[in-house]
């Protein structure tokens, strides 16, 4: 691990300013991604600004919204009783991944900013445009079993792995930030993560030194009827090969509205508006769910070893919708 300086910040503006002022600085929260990648030599900040003691550790709920501090632990969020009732997909997504130890350490902001599990990115030496811009992509044409079938580009096919982010994608979530120059931003979650395009090293629209301070979930009637279903190599403590976050508004067996996002298969949280549209007005039954899943995966592109994900994701989405529609309400 490369040597670095460490500062413990107690002030939000001070933390953002400290990282903003140093090009090689990074924020440290739970450290579960960052410390691992520093040990691998993948990330090599020369300054860590510790933000885990900032006053951003509370969940505030009222009729209009949930306001979730950036430093809330993923375990706290997963176990919050009222949150689980109003946005069940959030807790289900969190409990579907990570070990309890990791959920106790890692923060919600760290979760939506976590790095890809692409083994070529994480090995620290293969060509990787995300790690070393312009160096190429060893995953394209390589061992791409775990890689993206949606949203991939000619420079990067790495999957964005967050289960939480997949759930947030169907909830109209808002990300609040504090910038290093003292400003603040309110960013819709849709558009927060970037497609790899020509700059796969840039994963979100955050600027250097811009600190996530809160996530907001607006109250949504449809979110009460929401669900997360995931398939990975193990049934516990593994990343998704394919997952689906879904919400349904049903009236007498007819889908009035639907929300759908896929995880484990795309380069960023992958909302499926066309599949949602395909479900509206249809009976909540297997044939409708299958048709919607075909629409969701219509644009999927297989590489050498990940073609199975197209079928898997289709089945995962149908299963998620079927389980949710069968729930007593």
């Amino acid at each position: 691990m490369r040597p670095f300086a460490y500062v413990d910040e107690r002030d939000v503006a001070g933390a953002a300013a400290a990282v903003h002022a140093a090009p090689g600085a990074m924020f440290l929260a739970g450290g579960t991604t960052l410390v691992d990648l520093m040990r691998q030599g993948v990330l090599a900040p020369d300054l860590l600004v510790d933000v885990h003691r900032l006053p951003l550790g509370d969940i505030e709920l009222d009729d209009r919204r949930a306001r979730i501090g950036a430093c809330v632990r993923n375990a706290q969020l997963a176990e919050h009783p009222e949150l689980r009732a109003r946005w069940p997909v959030v807790g289900e997504a969190l409990l579907s991944g990570m070990s309890p130890q990791l959920r106790n350490m890692s923060t919600v902001a760290g979760n939506i900013l976590q790095r890809t599990r692409c083994s070529y990115y994480r090995d620290g030496h293969s060509p990787c445009n995300k790690r070393v811009p312009g160096s190429g992509c060893a995953a394209i044409g390589g061992h791409d079993r775990d890689h993206a079938i949606l949203g991939a580009g000619p420079r990067c096919i790495a999957v964005f792995p967050s289960d939480l982010a997949t759930a947030l994608a169907i909830l109209d979530a808002i990300v609040y930030t504090r910038r290093g120059d003292g400003g603040a931003r309110r960013l819709p979650f849709d558009g927060f993560h970037l497609a790899p395009g020509d700059t796969p090293e840039r994963e979100t629209i955050l600027d250097h030194g811009e600190l996530v301070t809160h996530l907001e979930l607006p109250t949504l009637a449809i979110a009460r009827c929401s669900h997360y279903f995931k398939v990975g190599d193990r049934s516990s403590y593994s990343f998704a090969l394919a997952s689906a976050a879904v919400a349904l508004d049903l009236e007498r067996g007819i889908v009035r509205d639907a929300r759908i996002a896929l995880g484990g298969v795309a380069t960023r949280p992958w909302r499926c508006p066309d599949a949602e549209q395909a479900l509206r007005g249809k009976p909540a039954e297997l044939s409708s769910f299958r048709a919607a899943a075909d629409v969701a995966l219509a644009g999927a592109v297989a590489g050498r070893h990940n073609g199975f994900k197209i079928d898997l994701a289709r089945h995962v989405l149908v299963r998620a919708l079927t389980e949710l529609a069968a729930r007593p309400r």
Partner: protein, 152 residues
């Protein structure tokens, strides 16, 4: 200087910021009960408690633990009297090589605190909640039995 509070004792250490909590415990404080398995947060052998919550000491920087209370396997027993979970592991023969055992025990103790109603904890529930602690000997059936023995 970094001020660490471990098992109720305070230690002032001159530490490189790169030092993990795991290395500080083992190499600087001589508390070698906490084990280094993968050093990547995947195996759970290094599980300790920070402010009562189970965490992975290999992914925690020691310098970030100031002001927090760390408990290791050495801090679990009261003198010669073993913690009920330690006793259950012995009685149920819940280990073979023993390398993962301190992490299993620390994880299991915190796990029972996390659960609202222990009596409703099923075997499948225990397995899921202990999924972050790997045992390469495969002593899982007896680990499960030990945890069930402590559960009221």
């Amino acid at each position: 200087m970094v001020l660490l509070s471990v098992n109720g004792a305070r230690h002032e250490l001159d530490l490189d910021p790169r030092t993990s909590l795991l290395d500080a415990l083992r190499e600087r404080l001589g508390l070698t009960g906490t084990k280094k398995g993968c050093d990547h947060g995947q195996c759970g052998a290094c599980t300790v408690h920070v402010d009562g919550r189970r965490v992975l000491s290999c992914l925690a920087l020691a310098v970030a633990q100031q002001g927090h209370e760390v408990t290791t396997i050495e801090g679990l027993a009261a003198g010669e009297r073993l913690h009920p979970m330690q006793r259950a592991f012995v009685e149920c023969d819940a280990l073979q090589c023993g390398f993962c055992t301190p992490g299993q025990i620390m994880s299991a103790v915190a796990m029972l605190v996390e659960v609202d109603d222990r009596r409703r904890l099923t075997d499948a529930g225990i397995r899921e909640r202990m999924s972050g602690n790997l045992c390469r000997c495969g002593a899982y059936p007896n680990i499960l039995a030990a945890i069930r023995r402590v559960r009221p």
